[in-house]
């Protein structure tokens, strides 16, 4: 059951992220990128297998039993990915503001399409 919920969450996040990214406004693209990166972060986390109540670290003094432990590597990876994704999204927001200021529109191409 856990798996279904997590998979559905990743799917919803990723699909709404992709949809927003294909929108013509820069802010929609920014939000789309954020949603997509949340989906990807969850995906990385799930790559180590879903475990309930298992720590990723060996308790001091206790014998190490791999079966009772969660995979620590994806958790380390997802931390790195979150930090990097956060930083690049922040940078994107700055460029978004610069583009708005320089072109006077929030269309991704810097000009309104001739509709």
């Amino acid at each position: 059951m856990n798996e279904v919920v997590v998979a559905a969450a990743i799917g919803v996040l990723a699909s709404s992220g992709v949809w927003l990214m294909l929108r013509p406004r820069t802010f929609q693209v920014a939000i789309g990128l954020s949603l997509l990166s949340y989906g990807v972060n969850l995906f990385i986390f799930a790559a180590g297998g879903l475990r309930v109540g298992a720590a990723p670290i060996v308790a001091a003094g206790a014998p190490a039993d791999p079966a009772a432990l969660a995979d620590p590597l994806p958790q380390a990876l997802v931390l790195t990915a979150i930090v990097i994704g956060f930083a690049t999204t922040a940078l994107f927001l700055i460029v978004l503001l610069a583009a708005r200021g320089l072109t006077g529109t929030d269309h991704v191409d810097g000009q309104e399409s001739d509709a």
């Binding site: 990385i44 994806p74 690049t88 460029v95 320089l102």
Partner: protein, 523 residues
């Protein structure tokens, strides 16, 4: 560990230190920044030369960070290919920095810091032996490249930069998906360990690895500019400032390098699968990229766009020929990689010098007109480093001809040697595959297109416009272009040892067993 072993990490540590040091110096002391920057880059080039010599004499150097053994800790691996590319990147960076000293580094904040972080990312990507570490170095180089693409600002740069950032952020997310899929399928992220585990897998298990590799491939090929993932490239490169665009010439090659490394490591011919996974896609995609680049070169009215499309032509050529998976072809492709990087970087630098004399907006497609209008103002106000040189137009014309010969692949420069070696290697196999004939046509046609495009642009700039004011070119700017062209000449004159070295690099790439054993060996 003997001191020699530490040379492997120097190409990452030195740019990092230089980046941090230039960040600490205030923007007002630009001379101090420039001094730190140039000294550190010179040191780096020296270190890269030493590394190349160690690797050539003693074989692959493996650096265990924190001395953790291979599959558990992160390793840096310097084999012949990595060492050569690190030297190429460092030399290119030196030329771009020197070029920028004339005026570009004053056009916006923290230019030096961004260049060094870019170089750190590029060198790291060349040296790392770990998939996730590769992602981190990719992000380092991308983050720095976002800053550099916007260097100098202006609407054209911001608009192109916005697209560039979105495309690369999405590619990075795909990279993450691929890497985590690869981890869940194999249980490791170390490239050597990955290769040895994939080689022992059954068909059923390989399906997941192959889908992970395909997703990773999309991320890398976006960087390398494979058609149809390359539409971001021309606007970004054409609107970037000259030193940044010249540095970006190496970025597409990072993508090509990663494809070459990981793909050959995981799916080298002679392992389980008879035909390597995805080679047909790579070949067709590469050919389509050459065609797209060729059409772009012919259609470009603007010199910077022409140069950007010629970058696409070269990366398409590389991707198409490495798909053949033949050591001799790969070795010629590596020579082509070095030659085309130097040639297109020199061209990007030169274009800015040539265009400087023209009135803004003279081009039919004045895509960067706004940017150049802003620049002309600052040239007038500029009384900075160096003195204008005499016979400017003659020298510029000479360099332009040299760049055209390099990129079109005409004798006597390295571009010709590279294309000749490629064709020679393609026709060595018997029976000659239809692929070789198609490549022959594509290579010659794309060379002709570049020649036509460059010839047309050159005539317009140097012969047919008497009203053009002679651009004010500084000695150091000319020095940077001359340095890159001299490097082209050097690899032409010394083609035999360079080809010998790259041939051994290609052999090692096609026999991944050696790489795997070197990395996984117990210390």
């Amino acid at each position: 560990m003997n001191p020699q072993a530490h040379f492997v990490i120097l190409p990452i540590v030195l740019p990092f230190a230089a980046g941090v040091m230039t960040l600490l110096v205030d923007e007002r002391h630009l001379a101090a920044k420039a001094a730190i920057s140039v000294v550190m880059t010179l040191t780096l080039v020296a270190a890269a030369v030493m590394l190349l010599r160690f690797v050539d004499v003693d074989g692959t150097q493996v650096y265990r960070v924190g001395d953790w053994p291979a599959p558990f800790g992160i390793v840096l691996v310097a084999d012949r290919l990595s060492a050569a590319l690190v030297l190429l990147a460092s030399g290119l960076c030196l030329a771009c920095l020197v070029f920028a000293l004339a005026r570009w580094h004053r056009e916006g904040p923290r230019f030096h810091t961004l260049v060094h972080f870019l170089l750190m990312g590029v060198n790291g990507a060349f040296l790392t032996g770990d998939l996730f570490n590769l992602f981190v170095f990719f992000e380092v180089l991308l983050a720095a490249s976002y800053g550099l693409a916007l260097h100098g600002s202006g609407p054209a740069r911001v608009r192109a930069g916005l697209h560039y950032i979105v495309v690369n952020l999405v590619a990075s997310l795909l990279f993450l998906i691929g890497a985590s899929l690869m981890y869940s399928a194999t249980g490791t992220l170390n490239l050597a360990d990955l290769a040895s585990r994939v080689a022992n897998m059954g068909d059923g298990e390989r399906a997941l690895v192959e889908s992970a590799a395909a997703i990773l491939g999309i991320a890398f090929l976006t960087k390398a500019g494979l058609w149809p993932l390359c539409f971001w490239l021309a606007p970004t490169y054409a609107s970037a400032s000259a030193p940044a665009a010249a540095l970006f010439a190496i970025l597409t090659k990072v993508g090509v390098y990663v494809v070459l490394r990981i793909w050959l490591l995981l799916f080298a011919a002679g392992s389980v699968a008879p035909a390597a996974f995805g080679s047909a896609w790579l070949a067709v995609g590469g050919m389509a990229t050459i065609l797209f680049g060729t059409i772009g070169v012919i259609a470009s009215q603007n010199l910077s766009r022409l140069a950007s499309y010629s970058v696409l032509v070269s990366s398409g050529t590389l991707l198409a020929v490495i798909a053949l998976q033949h050591p001799m072809v790969t070795s010629a492709a590596l020579y082509y990689l070095v030659a085309s990087t130097l040639g297109s970087a020199a061209l990007f630098l030169l274009i800015e010098l040539v265009e400087r004399g023209r009135t803004a907006g003279a081009d039919v497609l004045a895509v960067t007109a706004e940017a150049f209008a802003a620049d002309t103002l600052s040239i007038e106000a500029d009384d900075g480093a160096g003195v204008p040189i005499p016979a400017t137009m003659a020298l510029l014309g000479l360099c332009f001809v040299a760049c055209a010969l390099m990129l079109a692949g005409l004798p006597p420069l390295a571009g010709f040697v590279a294309k000749f070696a490629l064709l020679d290697a393609l026709f060595r196999t018997s029976p000659i595959p239809p692929f070789a004939w198609t490549m022959l046509v594509l290579l010659l046609v794309s060379g002709l297109a570049v020649l036509i495009g460059m010839g047309r642009a050159g005539m317009r700039r140097f012969w047919a416009s008497p009203e053009v004011a002679v651009p004010r070119v500084r000695v150091i700017e000319m020095l940077a272009v001359a340095f890159l062209l001299a490097a082209c000449a050097a690899i032409t004159v010394e083609a035999a040892p360079v080809l010998r070295y790259l041939g051994e690099a290609a052999q090692a790439l096609h026999a991944p067993r050696g790489y795997i054993d070197d990395v996984l060996a117990r210390p």
